[in-house]
């Protein structure tokens, strides 16, 4: 039995220039219920969130909160009316220069009725009340930079909840949390549900969705493509509605590794971590799965010459490999698609082809003079190869969707033949369609190199890899062929539990 809707959207429309991003979205949220909104990148999720949180004004349609019309002109108005949004970027939700207590009561510094003077004792008292109500176990005097990402997230949500909202919008809240941290978030969401808050939860993580959803709404091309509320929920149907096509999962044509391309012996990448050995063969795609913070990025950086191993030796194609810089790694044929493309990959001032040619300018230039025609030819080939959706190779990166931006990052490094191709979280912030395209391309082009993919999501490893290595506490704790996997054991290794039989 569904409770009556507290929040109702009717026929919302929003365009940017000629692009109709929201094309008549209607949605109802009920008190004490978690509604999961799924959508591929570019489906209009972020725009929808910005419209309901008062950042953008819709061009058509209406919103109703608790029976009254809801027309927020600013985010602050939305919050006062009882709708609170926690955005994807955790650091947008907290002010790093202030301590936890001030962050929790930040919104009371402004607005009608705010006292003129800042009273630290009162702030501490109010913050304590907020924290207690939310079951938040964080030192109120701590500075934000000293907190883990999960704790910052908790502070941001607790701060949002201090307004006692009727509707809480969470935009991909687990995207940078580890499993245990996400578990704390889920417990918190459970408590909010019990308080009768209507939650709109935006995510593409199937594990979150299975855990939380009371109902699922799929968004595609700016419209609602399907709503699923009959128990048990039809997850596959929701994914299909979101993608608009049938998804075939788990039909990999596994390959045997060819001759060994890369080997590492007694490699130690973090102080105190157990040394491990590693061998990667020609043509195989190997996934390294592990939680956030177990040393996956440290290993990727070691292989790419950003940091030096503490112990051990590496060999690439038969000769010793000790890169002192990314430049040397690239020269040896080791390429890295770094994680977090916005931070580590995209050059925003450059268009698509300039982004693709960046690492290989030297090879594309003649006597130091860059050959733009050659660069554009390479870019066009890569755009066709990876199916990047853009008007031309001269498009600005900002005009591309997240999935296509990621394809450009992969295309950048596939323009030349690698010996060892490393991708760190290549599917983060990428819609499922683009993710499948990238994975298929990686597999199709795998011959002639070893491919190593670092992922947090096990699904991504299962979809792409011939072999799966599990990382925990800075070392490799398990290796599995991606066939007839014993999932309990794999999960136990990922969770870092001692497993008998693994040295």
């Amino acid at each position: 039995m569904r409770a009556p809707a507290v929040f109702r959207l009717v026929g919302l429309e929003k365009s940017f220039g000629p692009n109709k991003v929201l094309d008549g979205v209607s949605l109802e949220l009920a008190a004490g219920e978690v509604t999961v909104l799924m959508g591929a990148n570019g489906a209009g999720k972020s725009t929808l969130v910005r419209v309901i949180s008062g950042v953008y004004r819709p061009e058509a349609g209406s919103m109703e909160l608790d029976g009254a019309p809801f027309v927020p002109h600013t985010p602050a108005e939305a919050i006062r009316a009882g709708l609170v949004t926690v955005h994807q970027n955790i650091n947008d939700g907290v002010v790093a220069a202030l301590d936890v207590a001030t962050n929790l009561t930040l919104d009371r510094l402004n607005g009608a009725g705010a006292p003129l003077l800042f009273n630290p004792r009162r702030v501490r008292r109010e913050a304590r009340a907020v924290a207690d109500r939310m079951g938040l176990a964080v030192d109120l005097g701590a500075r934000i930079p000293d907190l883990s990402l999960a704790d910052r997230q908790m502070v941001a949500i607790a701060r949002a909840m201090a307004h006692e909202p009727k509707v809480l919008v969470l935009d991909e809240p687990t995207s940078s949390l580890s499993g245990a941290e996400a578990e704390r978030l889920f417990a918190l969401i459970g408590r909010l549900k019990a308080h009768g808050v209507a939650v709109l939860y935006i995510s593409h993580r199937m594990s979150d969705i299975r855990r939380l959803a009371d109902r699922i709404v799929a968004l595609r091309d700016g419209g609602i493509a399907g709503a699923f509320e009959k128990k048990p929920l039809d997850y596959e149907g929701a994914v299909n509605a979101m993608l608009g096509r049938k998804v075939s999962a788990g039909t990999l044509d596994l390959r045997e590794a060819g001759v060994s391309v890369f080997t590492a012996k007694g490699l130690q990448i973090e102080p105190g971590a157990r040394p491990f050995s590693l061998s990667l063969g020609d043509g195989e795609v190997v996934a390294v799965a592990g939680l956030v913070g177990v040393g996956k990025t440290a290993l990727a950086e070691t292989l790419f010459g950003i940091r030096r191993p503490l112990a051990g030796s590496m060999r690439l194609a038969g000769s010793a490999y000790q890169p002192a810089s990314p430049k040397e790694a690239i020269a040896a044929g080791v390429f890295l698609v770094a994680k977090d493309r916005g931070e580590n990959g995209i050059v925003p001032a450059f268009n698509v082809y300039e982004n693709i040619s960046l690492p290989f300018l030297q090879r594309l230039a003649r006597f130091g003079v860059s050959q733009r025609r050659a660069e554009r030819a390479v870019a066009r080939r890569q755009i066709a190869d990876l199916g990047i959706v853009c008007r031309s190779e001269k498009d600005d990166m900002a005009t591309l969707s997240g999935g296509n931006q990621q394809k450009v990052m992969v295309a950048r490094w596939m323009a030349e033949q690698a010996r060892l191709f490393i991708l760190d979280e290549p599917f983060q912030g990428v819609d499922i369609a683009a993710r499948r395209d990238i994975a298929a391309k990686l597999r199709a082009s795998a011959a002639g190199r070893a491919t190593l993919i670092f992922v947090t999501e096990l699904d991504e490893a299962l979809e792409t890899a011939d072999r799966i290595l599990v990382m925990s506490e800075g070392t490799i704790v398990g290796a599995h062929r991606n066939q007839g996997l014993r999932m309990e054991r794999l999960l136990a290794e990922i969770a870092g539990q001692p497993v008998r039989g693994v040295a």
């Binding site: 690239i330 050059v347 960046l358 594309l364 230039a365």
Partner: protein
């Protein structure tokens, strides 16, 4: 392309053409070769400095020391020739060396000591303003001056050096184009080609736009940043050489406006072609724009003290162009 995009893209160039046309009609003698050369000459030194600072803007930095590098080079040239009796070649070599050394120190402070660029070059600016006064106890350098130890400096500026400031090449008309204008045009073409058409320039833009991404693409980011400051230092010292050659003495009071004028030119350059980023062509046009405006207004009898006001107004308009209009049209 929409009207708005066209306006953002070509607005500044159109404005420049309109200004020239207006002055040609309104101010008698404006539309003459001599007047054109005078405009170029008036912006030559500022322009050279502005082109140098453009290189640091491209890598996401800033160089506030350019003005004082130029005046230090000027004082050094005068000191070498007047006090030490050196020749023109030595004077030029010392000036360039000063530019390189200051650039290296700036780069070292910023890259290895992690001092923010504005602060490092601000410190360098103060340091150089003070340093150039020490050898002569704060006096200007000219032939016949009395040195701190009581002796008389009787060296002279060598004719070859003075020619850098005073020689004029024939160009259709005899004795038309001064050396400084030729130097400006050559340096402008060189830095423009370097930034736009070589892989080094492209990598510098990448460093300025996303340093992490550039480093992960294999670019030696630190080296590029240091190079940018060295380029800036060299250009500033060339500006100082031209200044010394024009004045024929080491004038302690000259060059006060160099820093602000050249930074303004580089920032106005952001707006040219609506690219909203530092670029050599824009910098050159920016310098020229200011020159045309001042020359035209002067010929129409605007008093000299309105000049800074006019420059400031142009800069503000250009910045609005860059950050409000072209920024919005890019989303």
């Amino acid at each position: 392309m929409t009207l708005r995009e066209l306006a953002v893209r070509y607005g500044f160039l159109v404005l420049l053409v309109v200004l020239v046309a207006y002055f040609a009609v309104a101010a008698e003698g404006f539309a003459s070769p001599q007047s054109a050369v005078f405009i170029f000459q008036s912006v030559a030194i500022t322009g050279v400095l502005a082109l140098g600072v453009t290189a640091t803007l491209v890598v996401g930095g800033f160089d506030l020391s350019i003005g004082s590098v130029a005046t230090t080079a000027m004082m050094a040239a005068a000191y070498v020739m007047v006090v030490l009796d050196g020749n023109a070649l030595l004077a030029v070599a010392i000036c360039l060396a000063i530019g390189v050394v200051v650039g290296l120190i700036n780069g070292f402070l910023i890259v290895f000591m992690r001092v923010p660029d504005l602060l490092a070059t601000l410190g360098m600016m103060f340091l150089l303003v003070g340093l150039q006064r020490i050898p002569t106890e704060g006096r200007s350098i000219a032939t016949g001056m009395t040195m701190p130890d009581g002796s008389v400096a009787d060296g002279t500026f060598s004719p070859a050096f003075l020619a850098l400031g005073r020689h004029r090449f024939d160009f259709f008309l005899p004795n038309l184009v001064p050396v400084s204008v030729v130097v400006l045009l050559i340096l402008a073409a060189a830095i423009w080609f370097f930034l736009e058409y070589t892989r080094f320039g492209r990598t510098m833009y990448a460093v300025g736009s996303n340093e992490r991404a550039a480093a992960l693409a294999g670019a030696p980011v630190k080296a590029y940043k240091i190079w940018a400051y060295v380029i800036s230092g060299i250009f500033a010292s060339i500006g100082g050489i031209l200044l010394a050659a024009r004045l024929g003495r080491g004038d302690i009071a000259s060059g006060n406006n160099l820093l602000l004028d050249s930074v303004a030119a580089a920032l106005i350059g952001f707006a040219v072609l609506g690219v909203a980023r530092p670029n050599a062509f824009g910098t050159a046009v920016g310098a020229l724009f200011v020159g045309v405006l001042l020359q035209g207004l002067t010929m129409m009898n605007a008093p000299y003290y309105t000049q800074d006001f006019v420059k400031g107004a142009v800069l503000v308009v250009a910045l609005v162009f860059t950050f409000a209009l072209s920024g919005a049209s890019r989303r």
